[in-house]
Structure formats: structure tokens, C-alpha cells
Subunit: 219 residues, 4 copies
């Protein structure tokens, strides 16, 4: 039984690496992934629309590596091949899951070089600016980028949820195991798209985080 | 097939949370753990002796929380109960697995408040001081502290190994899944105690890291 | 004119490196410091007493380096000589400025290896646990450890104040310049002991942060 | 007398916030700055050309804030007004000081939201990828972004130099004081453009860091 409500304080929807390579084979994309990418994209679209409607901020992560390979770190020492190279096919975000950076709704595009969204990025700066409390994770891979972003968020005192039918692992076994590991950290972390949609509907419209924040002295 | 040698550059043995609570029930220690603690301690003793003989530096992590609970973060929102409280039974390091801070061999005792040894600690400072390249992890839990320390080390470009018969998980399923996840990150990460002992024997005695380093200008 | 009140939200008193070496010569302690250490200690005692009376949590930093020199980093490449060595004379905290870790008042002792209190320590974990908003810095050196702790806190969105008559620099010039630099970052950062004492008196007794926090689910 | 050579190991040239606003008044750009911007740009151009000729990698920092103000943190609580807003006049990098991301020479463009180049960025990932040892800082402001980037690099064990005639402070007093503070940290940190040009000429052409690094197993 969950020890905390689904949403505590201010929620943020975090779309992890929903890139075009998710529909490609491991040979093409460098990363193995379970089938069902199109269905996950469709669910993500619904969650994104609901977040926008409810005023829930959205962060879009995109894993990108420079063609020189300089920023791969140790990522090529394991199962994954060369992946998410800048300018290569498959690296772009899914066309329907891209931030609108010009509107009033707070949306953020963050490029990352590692699995965790907290490493080498401005994610924590953005979350503090948003006064975020609860992170809702979708995308991939639940056993790599989603899992390690979850663990880092958990260890930074955020409430974290993972949408089980809107993530796809590198294999069914690793998918299941990672979800189980996240549930171990925060009981009730595993949630479905429908539960999140219902929760977003229950919010009282655009949040306080939408307010202009340039006043300086009054902040 | 491993893409890298077992030991690349300078190795460090990292003993993760081998505390007396490892022999207690989940009710007593707050954390579930597979049987076999005594056997793991015995293997760790052999690895520690071999590290000392080969001049391999050793870091001993100890998870400790203040009785007020102020530093638990979100750690009580999941499966674990109150655990590793300062002054409570079970929080002490195993008596045979404690650092000797007075000798010439470089040993380090690092208290941590989170799962990963990199969060809120001087671990990275120590590793840079040692010019460490390869971390060899033993202790517990492979599905929590060991796994997240591994992932953080991996994402900071260290070569990382986990000694499969010298770690014990919160359950057999999570134990196996975590080892598989680490192997996904670095092929050949999973190693046995015997393999490590053999590798330590092959090192050329005390490393360069043992040298006095107080000269300042010459460093 | 300050753009923010002296205390915003929850304050924490941060005692930076008030160690016995502050009364020693640069030759003895390795670090040059302006005269007036005894007066600064006396003011710090009054601030500590006031913090305890008002329920303001206190963090005591202590810079300590291992005798092997392994954790000095580049600290010996500049003006400072070997300093704050574990077990050496001058490294201990001033006897009247030590944490009482056994009482109900939240006090913390944090050893650090670098100038900034945020690097390689659990400071941020503690501050999040305390839900701290405003840090009030005293101790030394305003041009080194206090300045860089201030800058890091500022860049992590904390409100920060420095008590101008309770810090002592490596020289009058660097003392003045560092205070000016902190005031540049947050107008009104420079405050006197008397101002802080008055502000502490105006608080409504022990804060919410004193509450037991071990309930888990209710946190 | 310097305790270390000008360049230790692998150097990187770090161009800090050389944006068009450097030529604007404080009223226009939000940030006060000493006159001499054009001369500093001219010197930076020469340093950049020399770095490219010698194979020294170059990192170009650009401070950018979102128009919503969400990522300003506490930066508006002090002397600076709204500055470096995305899409505003003055935020672009100086036209002659922009990275060429398509060539073989390793150049990097890193947007930052805080003063220090290490906070909320991939800087450390890039530096590790380059196996960088010595950072040579130019740009602005020596008393803010350059100083805090220097301090963070110093505390992460890098050798750091600041080019005194290729940085310009928020005032002459703060300019001088910040240079003095950096020299306190690493004796010999203060260097002139000519000294750096001479040192670059002495390097043995393109460094090892130019090599292709996509081989994975061989890295």
C-alpha cells in the first residue's frame, strides 16, 4: 500500500528519451528495446495533452552524443552499441513529443549525455525553479535511463512515479525487474497511464509555477 | 565477452555497508537480506587481506542515519523500515571488516546517508586523490546500495566490477536482476571472489598511491 | 537596499571552520588570518546561544585533512601551507563552539576536505532535511571557505547572509573584498552580530524542524 | 613563485561568457562591466587561433536565462539586473568567438544558468572525456563567473590559470580583488595573453585528445 499520495505538492511530467530510435531495431539504434513503441508514444501524447491542460510542467529529455564519441564515457563497454549520435537517424525526439518553448506552459528541453537526467544537466536547477515535488516518469528505458533518473530523484528527496504502460525496457525481464526495483524504493511508484490522467484531471488547473517569475525582489 | 580487462589502471576495493545488521532479520535491521551473510563476510575478509597485501586501497562505506530521522530523505517511503540508526544495534561495521586508519596502507571510512556512495560524501575526492580507475564492489545490497553506487561510478567513467559471491540482495530475484543490470552496463562486470583474488595476486605490490603526497609543489 | 528580508523561511546558523588554529600564526596553522580570533569566538558563542534559544539549527563545519595528504587536492599549490591535519594541534573545533549531538536541538558536525561546505559533504542533504531557506555564515575565512560556501549556496538558490564582525580574513584587503563580493551577489548579505541576534529574538521559538521526523509515511 | 608549470598535462582553453552584452552599458545588459571589451575580444581571438593551431580543445560558455525567469535562482537579489535572456540583444556569443562544431578540432558550446561553469552543465563530463588537467580561463566577469568557475575547478583538482588582460570585471576594485583571490588559490594562476600564446606555441601540435574515440573496447 502506497505510503504517500500519487501526487505530493507540485508535479512535473518527465518524458525520458522518447526518440525516433525507439522504433528501430537494436542493430539500427544501438539499443535493444521491447516492441510497443508506437503504443507508448500514443499514451505519452495523451499524458502530455493532459499535463498541458492541467498546467503541469513538462521536461523532455533527449540523449545525444557527439559524433567524436568524446562524451560517451563508459557507455560502450556494455550491451549498448553506438547510440543517439547527434545528426544520426533516430536521435530526434518523436515529432509529437516535443516541447513548445514559446507558449505560456512551462516546458523544458534538456539534452543529456548520461543515463540519469541529473548528471551533467540543468535538471535540478529547473526542478528547484518549478518548486517541484513529484516527478512522473515516462519513456525509456525503464531499466536504464528511467531507473537511474528515478534513483537519483529519490535520493534527492523527490516523490517519484513511473508509468508502467508508458515505458519499454531493453527486455521483458529487465523491464519487470526495474519496475520492481523502483517500487522497492517508493511503494506505489508503479502507476498506469489511466491513473495519472485521472490525477491530472483532479488538479486545480494551471499551477502557481506558471506565474511570471522575473520580479526579482519579490521572489 | 568483456570489452575491458578485469582491472584497468589503479584498482580500489569498495566494501559497501558490511554492517552487523546484515546478520539480522528484516524486522530487526529494517532491511530484508538473503541468507549467507557469514559466508559473504568470510569472503570479504579474504579480499580485504589480499587488497592489503597487494597495496590496493580500500574504502569502507557505512550507512548511518541520525536518530532524529532528519537525513532519511525518502528512504522510508518504500520497502525498508527504519535502518542503520546511529547507536543502534546492527549499525556498526562488521568487526573484521573495519579500516585500519593508522597504517601505511590507504584505507578510508566513509559514512553515507543515501544508497549511492557518491551522494553526499567525499568518495569522489578520495578516488581522485588515489587516481583510481577501477572500483571493485562487495557488500550489500546489490540491488540497492551496490547497484546505485555502480551506476554512479559508471556514469563518472570508472571501470566497475561487482563480486557476485560477495554480495547479498534483498531477495534472490532482485539480487539476480541487479547483477544482470550491472552486467548490461559493463560487460564482464560480474566477477567471483576467486577471480579478484587471482587478479590482486598479479599486481606488482603496493601501488604508486601509497607514496607520501604531502610535498605540494611536486604533486 | 536589501531586496529580501534578513531571514526568509527557515534559517540555519553555519559555523565555518572555527578551529583552534584560528588563534595561531600562519607558520603554525598553515593559513594566514587577521587578528581578532578571540573576539570572533566570543561573538560566535553569543550567536550560538541565541540560535539554540530560538530553535535555529546549527551546522558546524570542520576542515580536516588526512596526514597522508591524499585529500588536499590542489590546496597546497597556493598561499596556504599544510593545514588542518587530523590529529595536529589547531585542527580541533574551538571548545566552546562544538555541536551538542545528543540534545533535542538540531546540531550537525560536518567534516569537509575542500573550501566550500557543499563539496564532498552531506551539507545539502542536511539542508533539505531541515527545509532550510536562509544560511547565516560565521567563521573563516571570509575570502576562502566562507566565500565559496556562500557562492555555492547562492547558486543553489539559498538566501545567504555573512556576519561581518564574526568572520576574519587572510588579510584586511581580502577580507573586505570578499565581503564586497558576497554583497554583490545578494544585496543586504552583510549583517552584524547584533542584527542577527535581534532577528533570532524575533523568531517564534523552536521551529517546525525540531519535530520528530521518523514517521515515514507522514513525511 | 609558481608551484606548478603554466601547463600541466592536457590544457583546455575556456572562454567564459564572451557575449555581445559585454560591449553594452549596465543598464542595457543588466551587468556592470569595465571598459575594454573590444580589446579583450581581440586578445581572445588570438588565443582562440593559437589554441586551434596547437590542438588545444576549447570550451565556449554562454550564460542564458529563459524569458520566464524560471532559471534565475537568486541572481536577481544582488547587483545584477535581468541579464542574458534568451533571444534578447546582447545574449549571443561574440561573432568571432563561436565554436566550430563541425571540424576535427574539439570545440564545445555549453549553455549555463549559473555563474560557475560546473553547476548544472556537462562541463565535467567534457573535461573527463578530454582528459583535461589545466584550464585556462578568459572572458568575464573575473569577479563572478570566472572566479567561481576557477574555484570550482580548483576544488575538483584541476590546475587553473586566468588570463589577466583578457578578462574584465564589474569594477576595477572587484577585478583586482578577484585576480588576487585566484592567485591565493594557485600561485602563478595570473598569466598574460602573451605568456599563454608562448606556451601554446611550445606544445607539440594536436593532442592525443583529437583522436577518434568511438572504438569502445579500446578506450
Amino acid at each position: 500500500m502506497p505510503k504517500q499520495p500519487l501526487i505530493v505538492g507540485n508535479p512535473v511530467l518527465v518524458v525520458v528519451d522518447m526518440q525516433e530510435g525507439g522504433a528501430m531495431s537494436a542493430d539500427e539504434a544501438g539499443i535493444p528495446v521491447m516492441p510497443g513503441h508506437a503504443e507508448r508514444v500514443e499514451r505519452a501524447e495523451r499524458l502530455l495533452a493532459a499535463a498541458r491542460g492541467a498546467g503541469v510542467p513538462v521536461v523532455f529529455f533527449q540523449e545525444v552524443h557527439r559524433p567524436s564519441g568524446i562524451d560517451f564515457g563508459r557507455e560502450l563497454d556494455g550491451t549498448e552499441g553506438v547510440h543517439c549520435v547527434e545528426g544520426h537517424s533516430g536521435t530526434d525526439l518523436e515529432p509529437t513529443l516535443r516541447p513548445d518553448l514559446t507558449g505560456a506552459h512551462p516546458e523544458f528541453h534538456i539534452v543529456k549525455r548520461r543515463y540519469s537526467g541529473f548528471i551533467g544537466t540543468e535538471f535540478d536547477i529547473v526542478l528547484r525553479g518549478l518548486k517541484a515535488d513529484t516527478l512522473i516518469l515516462i519513456g525509456g528505458l525503464p531499466d536504464v535511463c528511467v531507473h537511474y533518473t528515478f534513483a537519483d530523484a529519490h535520493q534527492r528527496d523527490y516523490y517519484v512515479r513511473v508509468v508502467t504502460d508508458c515505458v519499454g525496457g531493453s527486455s521483458q525481464y529487465r523491464h519487470d525487474a526495474a519496475l520492481d526495483a523502483m517500487e522497492y524504493l517508493q511503494t506505489g511508484a508503479m502507476r498506469t497511464t489511466e491513473e495519472i490522467l485521472t490525477a491530472f484531471r483532479g488538479l486545480n488547473g494551471p499551477l502557481d509555477t506558471n506565474r511570471p517569475v522575473l520580479e526579482g525582489a519579490s521572489r
